[in-house]
Symmetry: none
Subunit: 206 residues, 4 copies
């Protein structure tokens, strides 16, 4: 079994190597300024091999956006299931998890920003991301509403609160240098939470 599987495994591994190299280089240099040859080199495969796995450079870019998006979706879609407790606790848990996520996946966030910055250039990808945002907002809204009813969250459109939260996360990765400490990220989580409701500097105790 291991021998027979290894053929298929090797292929998968090569594809993954290319994809990871692409994520790295596209995020560092942008789509237009990343030659396919550089990706091949980074991935340790020959130039032509890239096109064995991805029809065009554009298709490869799509894959670098969409495949990680699937991994990330659960953290944004399954809010009720993943995060427990009161609305406040749920949102706290969510922010904890998501900021953590993006503090680690800076590369991926840079990729997303390239798409968000040019909707007309990447209409399909933009739509995917837009849909993602809208589903997230729909899922988060009931929790915000419950929190508003409990008086722990600000009044106002839940969609707006959710969007400002996403903006903050997106902007964070743009504005901040990589080497920020855990302490810094903790503080940013507090700031994120403050978009939902007041105070919350008691987080440290949690």
């Amino acid at each position: 079994m291991p021998a027979s599987l290894s053929v298929h495994e090797k292929k998968k591994r090569k594809r993954t190597a290319i994809l990871q190299a692409a994520v790295k280089l596209f995020s560092e240099n942008g789509f237009a300024e990343t030659p396919v040859a550089a990706i091949a080199k980074e991935a340790g495969v020959s130039f032509g091999t890239v096109f064995t796995y991805f029809e065009t450079k554009e298709v490869l870019f799509h894959a670098t956006i969409l495949e990680p998006l699937e991994e990330i979706k659960p953290y944004f879609y399954d809010i009720e299931e993943r995060y427990s407790g009161s609305p406040l606790e749920k949102v706290k848990g969510m922010i904890l998890c998501q900021v953590e996520l993006f503090s680690k996946r800076k590369e991926y966030l840079r990729l997303i920003q390239q798409v968000l910055a040019r909707p007309d250039r990447y209409p399909d990808l933009f739509k995917e991301l837009d849909d993602f945002v809208n589903v997230f907002i729909d899922r988060l809204a009931p929790i915000i509403i419950k929190g508003q009813e409990e008086g722990v969250f600000y009044k106002g459109s839940p969609a707006l609160i959710a969007q400002s939260y996403l903006s903050l996360i997106n902007g964070m990765r743009l504005t901040f240098i990589d080497e920020y400490t855990n302490l810094f990220w903790m503080d940013m989580k507090i700031q994120a939470l403050r978009l939902f409701g007041p105070a919350h500097n008691e987080w440290e105790e949690s």
Copy 2:
């Protein structure tokens, strides 16, 4: 004077036309995907003329970042002078003004994002923007501190609060579609203010 000046004026006007065209196209299509020929066409000048005013494409890009930055600096540097009243009122005034500013200059914000996204590609420009941020934080900090002493702002590092505010502004232009209404921007201002201190939904009354 009018005759001799008009020659100089004409030159200036041509340079300005090129610069504005560059801002528009660089922000829409990115630096790498904007041919100089397209800028010339958009500006209504001949291809070669672009190089009369800007030595290289790179120099032109620098100008599109740095020249508007100078226009914008007063709104971020002269906080004490421009915005009056209590610390809360000052920050309110500042947010009002700055969100207004960027809601209109989406193009310029997109340019900035290109630089922020690739510090290694544009080290000089990045340094300029980083300096800009740091000066802004230094100027804003005393006001935040005073507000904290008055109990209207959250406790915590003023730098952090300032940075989260900039992140939100930056992220807004990434996440939001252009057609948002004034109402939307008003709401975002409230959210921005909530990064400084609680509540503040009394803004509508101001």
Copy 3:
């Protein structure tokens, strides 16, 4: 016999399938614009299998020219044996047969034209075809001469008459669209015959 032969048969059949696919695609798209992968697909075999039967693409092209040529040779070489009667009747029979042949094998004629159009590119193949033409002329010449002596053919170099006849056949497949009717081909046969001698519009009665 059936079992052991069937292995050999299968091989043969695969080789034939590849060859036919190659004739079709080379004639439609030209040698340079026909990828080996397309031939494999058309033939219903895997990509690598093509190279099992034909060392290189060039070798395959040679086979598509030379193997059908062998089939065709009898119709051009064995004039005395195949076509009977007076010189005029022999030539009539020959034209009937050959025009028929090429009206059906347009694909093959297109292949030949590719070689004829580029003697330097395909020197070996060109030589084969040139030899073919020369043998045909040598075989046809005595019949033309006899016809000239009988006064039914034009005077003049038999080689020239033969060559003009081949030119007409070749040109026909270039100039004419595929869907021509039988009536059309009949008329072309008359025109071909007129290169040999006058009148002959009595063909319809034969």
Copy 4:
């Protein structure tokens, strides 16, 4: 005047040089097997300059077909005007002129054959050539009919006679090696004339 004109003249000359180089190389090596770099070299210009004058390789190919076609049209369209005398004399004059033409422009005929051999690949060009043929046939038909009435031409569809004539011309350049003598071409003219009507070996005397 010469100085100011020379700018425009130089451009024209460069364009012509590229076009002629393209005619030469496309006809020798075929469209697909002629790199643009080779054309540039042959024309004595740099690689990029080719694209200054012709947007794409395909456009250049179109020009190599269509521009000489315009030069050739008069010889095929203005039959009544160019060739005088009886129908027989007109056709004789026409053949003389046209065979002469193509005996010299073998390169161009090879280009045309590439288009005729692949109607689906070059639909626009094919249509142009098809239109050309049809106009020629329409113009020639009345003369053939008059000749038929005079009893010097064969009876039968004028279109068919015209087409067989074009086929012969086209096939000639395919089948014949370049070095043929004037004598040879003279003989071919006689053969061409025999597609119209009988005998005519009195041509030598004309």
